[in-house]
């Protein structure tokens, strides 16, 4: 495999075969027409030719399908957009040293699961000493002061605490995504901070959770988004980078 490919296709068992697997349910009873409908959808998704390999009626009005086939789409690697880490990954010592030297006070982080979300394991993985994936959490960093508000924190309460604690950064976790709960809650949160703080004083807003699109900062009004498998060191390094190194005034 050479690394300077710029266009690739999905790979089943031969380079360029474009093969993918798809499954879905249509809300129609199983018959030939339903199978045709499934193939129509596969065609619209770009599978050509598509093989309908499984169709299972479910409870009367629904049918589940499995389709295999070759997608005609090309993946253009040069056009791929990702949030690459644009800051150096630091160890705890380095983070502490930078904060101590440049801020001359503790960097204050306030964390919470907002809305009705009670999944604290993710934010705890980042904040608690215990940490994640073998790395200690931010509480372990001597020069950070961490206030973890836990689960189901209402947005006004979060804003108040952030103000009271003089938070440099607010870290929010959202795990439940049904009906886009995570997006609604995050937007509500960032709007509240924008309303409550003048642009220059607003704490850095960081949101995380397994189902975010890391590119969506603009849309959600936050400074950074962290996804699946984030480690504490990444977060700490980012905070130092954004708050100390860049001394960046977060975009309003």
């Amino acid at each position: 495999m050479t690394d300077n490919k710029t266009i690739v296709r999905p790979y089943g068992d031969t380079t360029g075969d474009g093969m993918v697997q798809v499954s879905f349910t249509l809300p129609i009873p199983h018959d030939k027409k339903a199978e045709g409908a499934a193939l129509q959808l596969a065609a619209k998704m770009g599978l050509e030719p598509a093989m309908l390999v499984h169709a299972k009626p479910m409870g009367g009005g629904f049918t589940f399908f499995v389709v295999y086939g070759s997608v005609r789409h090309l993946v253009e690697l040069e056009k791929v957009q990702v949030v690459e880490r644009d800051f150096p990954l630091l160890g705890a010592k380095e983070v502490n040293a930078v904060v101590k030297k440049r801020m001359r006070r503790k960097l204050v982080v306030v964390g919470a699961c907002i809305g009705t979300d009670a999944h604290t394991v993710g934010i705890d993985a980042i904040l608690n000493i215990k940490g994640y994936a073998g790395q200690k959490g931010l509480e372990y960093y001597r020069e950070l002061r961490v206030v973890n508000l836990g689960a189901q924190v209402a947005v006004p309460e979060l804003v108040e605490r952030a103000r009271a604690e003089k938070a440099d950064a607010v870290l929010v976790s959202q795990v439940v995504t049904q009906k886009d709960a995570h997006l609604h809650n995050t937007k509500e949160m960032s709007a509240a901070f924008r309303e409550a703080f003048p642009a220059a004083k607003r704490p850095l807003l960081v949101v995380g959770g397994p189902r975010f699109d890391e590119l969506a900062t603009g849309e959600l009004g936050v400074d950074r988004i962290f996804g699946r498998g984030t480690t504490p060191a990444e977060v700490a390094s980012y905070l130092v980078h954004a708050l100390v190194e860049k001394k960046a005034v977060p975009a309003a």
Binding site: M58, G59, G60, F64, G115, Q152, V176, K179
Partner: protein
């Protein structure tokens, strides 16, 4: 008995649980909560909500509390006022109270006696209604029959919209589910009221309301008829409104309820005292309604490690058993929870699961144990997920679990899709059909890995129970013993809804529930 447990050790474990739990029961007997009081009034017939959606029962209890405090219970003031105003309907009384045209006082002497009598009549009517529902259930089970196999197959619906939930539940029943659980919307458990009416707007679950209960139970009655098998319905009592939801469940003939003595404390940060008080009353209602409770030990293993913390599950099961029996529940009503949550990458993980599952089975031989699927170590790799679920199902049948909560391959992705449920049920059908009798050939080697592990967990549980007894359960909870969650007794939500009972506290429902024995359901039929 495949584990060769020492009966003396088992007895000792149970004795310790009793001793560790007793002070908490004393506390529960001597306190009341806004939700307990609201539950009484719901049994007494109050319904409906104000134009803002706040139930009249909340408005009424708040008004009473304002005028007369909570410590005597609301029954005396409310039924005294009812008699005084000449009303016959609690809902109308609540409306009047909301309009400020009624004031509440704690009656004394003759007035008190009259109010008690009235309260007992009203609450008694509600409890009679629950008895009727229970008899109805017995009749329907007789007519349609119980599931043919053990474990019973338990399936979740969670669209957030009761009208999407219904067809999905019916489809699931058709595909083989014996029990349908409607998951609640996130956040409901922290609401200090029970929403009203049919709802379509939940997040990752559907609100638990009396009307939703009714709609779903009616739909499953249809399914039971269609399928010739009584399809059970489950919902959640846990949360700030545990007693009220228990009452509504009894009134709408739900068949099982999630009801754990500590879940609310640990996972919803509800005040420990509030929870223990609410829990006891709600279990008394469940006992009367012939409802099977489901406890929540599985949750501990999502925050703590399933191997390291295995004994905390055992301890919690023993405590849940003690609290449940004290509240009047029978063995057949104890759906004690445990889960298949060991990291699948560790060596012998499946045999460890078998050891833990068999330990629970042999400690609680008469209880319909609820076996929960892998969640923590499920990933977006849905192919692997379906495989893990298959081994979970196998462990369930090999160790004789009573209730199998069906795992979904999309556990780490979405609340279950219609097709996930279908695939999951197909998985269960395969495993039970192909290997449902394999327990006959499953004989843990004497002194071998499985027996040793089970005995180790039992011993660790006993040591922990000794510590808890010495230190008190409330302190143990404060220290993060369960699920690594630290919950001090003076913190957490809902504490302001708790009151120590005053002299003369009166609760007609408790009186009835503690005096008359629950209607007998033939246990052998379960």
């Amino acid at each position: 008995m495949k584990l060769d447990l020492d009966p003396a050790l088992v007895r000792r474990a149970r004795q310790l649980a009793r001793e560790a739990g007793a002070p908490v029961v004393d506390m529960a007997r001597t306190h009341t909560t806004v939700s307990v009081e609201r539950a009484v009034l719901r049994l007494a017939g109050i319904t409906g909500a104000d134009p803002d959606g706040i139930p009249w029962v909340n408005r009424l209890v708040d008004a009473v509390r304002n005028d007369a405090g909570l410590e005597h219970g609301v029954s005396l003031p409310v039924f005294h006022a009812l008699a005084e105003t000449g009303e016959t309907d609690l809902t109308l009384l609540a409306q009047k109270a909301a309009a400020g045209s009624v004031r509440f006082t704690v009656p004394v002497k003759k007035d008190a006696t009259a109010a008690k009598r009235l309260a007992r009549r009203f609450a008694g009517a509600g409890i009679k209604q629950i008895d009727k529902r229970r008899a109805e259930r017995d009749k329907l089970i007789k007519r349609h029959g119980d599931p043919k196999q053990r474990p019973w197959i338990y399936l979740i619906v969670a669209t957030g919209d009761i009208y999407e939930d219904i067809p999905q539940a019916q489809a699931a029943a058709r595909e083989g589910a014996d029990i349908i659980a409607v998951i609640r919307s996130t956040g409901q458990s922290l609401l200090d009221y029970v929403p009203e009416g049919a709802t379509r707007e939940g997040f990752a679950g559907t609100y638990a309301t009396q009307e939703n209960f009714r709609l779903m139970r009616a739909a499953l009655d249809e399914s039971s008829k269609e399928l010739g098998r009584y399809v059970r319905l489950t919902n959640y009592a846990s949360g700030l409104c545990m007693p009220e939801i228990a009452a509504l469940a009894g009134l709408q003939r739900l068949d099982m309820m999630l009801n754990d003595s500590m879940y609310g404390i640990l996972f919803r940060d509800i005040n420990p005292i509030r929870t223990f008080v609410d829990q006891r009353f709600s279990r008394q209602v469940h006992a009367r309604a012939g409802i099977i409770i489901n406890t929540g030990e599985d949750n501990y293993l999502t925050t703590a490690d399933a191997v390291e913390a295995a004994h905390t599950v055992t301890v919690s099961q023993l405590l849940n058993e003690y609290f449940a029996k004290e509240a009047g529940l029978a063995d057949w009503q104890l759906g004690l929870g445990h889960a298949f949550e060991i990291n699948p990458d560790i060596p012998d993980s499946f045999r460890l699961e078998l050891a833990h599952a068999l330990l629970a089975r042999e400690l609680f031989p008469e209880a319909p144990l609820k076996w929960m699927p892998p969640t923590k170590h499920m990933t977006g790799d849905v192919f692997r997920g379906n495989l893990l679920d298959g081994f979970f199902n196998l462990a369930g049948t090999l160790t004789g679990q009573g209730i199998l909560l069906v795992g979904m391959m999309t556990e780490a992705v979405v609340t279950p899709w219609l097709s996930d449920r279908d695939i999951a049920l197909q998985n269960v059908r395969y495993v039970l059909g192909a290997a449902g009798n394999l327990h006959e050939d499953f004989v843990p080697a004497p002194g071998g890995f499985i027996q040793n592990r089970a005995n180790q967990v039992l011993n660790e549980a006993i040591t922990l129970l000794e510590d808890i007894k010495a230190d008190t359960l409330l302190n143990a909870i404060a220290d993060g013993t369960f699920g690594i969650m630290k919950r001090p007794a003076d913190r957490g939500k809902g504490l302001d809804g708790v009151a120590k009972q005053a002299e003369g506290y009166y609760n007609p429902a408790t009186e009835i529930l503690e005096s008359a024995p629950a209607a007998t359901t033939d246990v052998s039929e379960r």
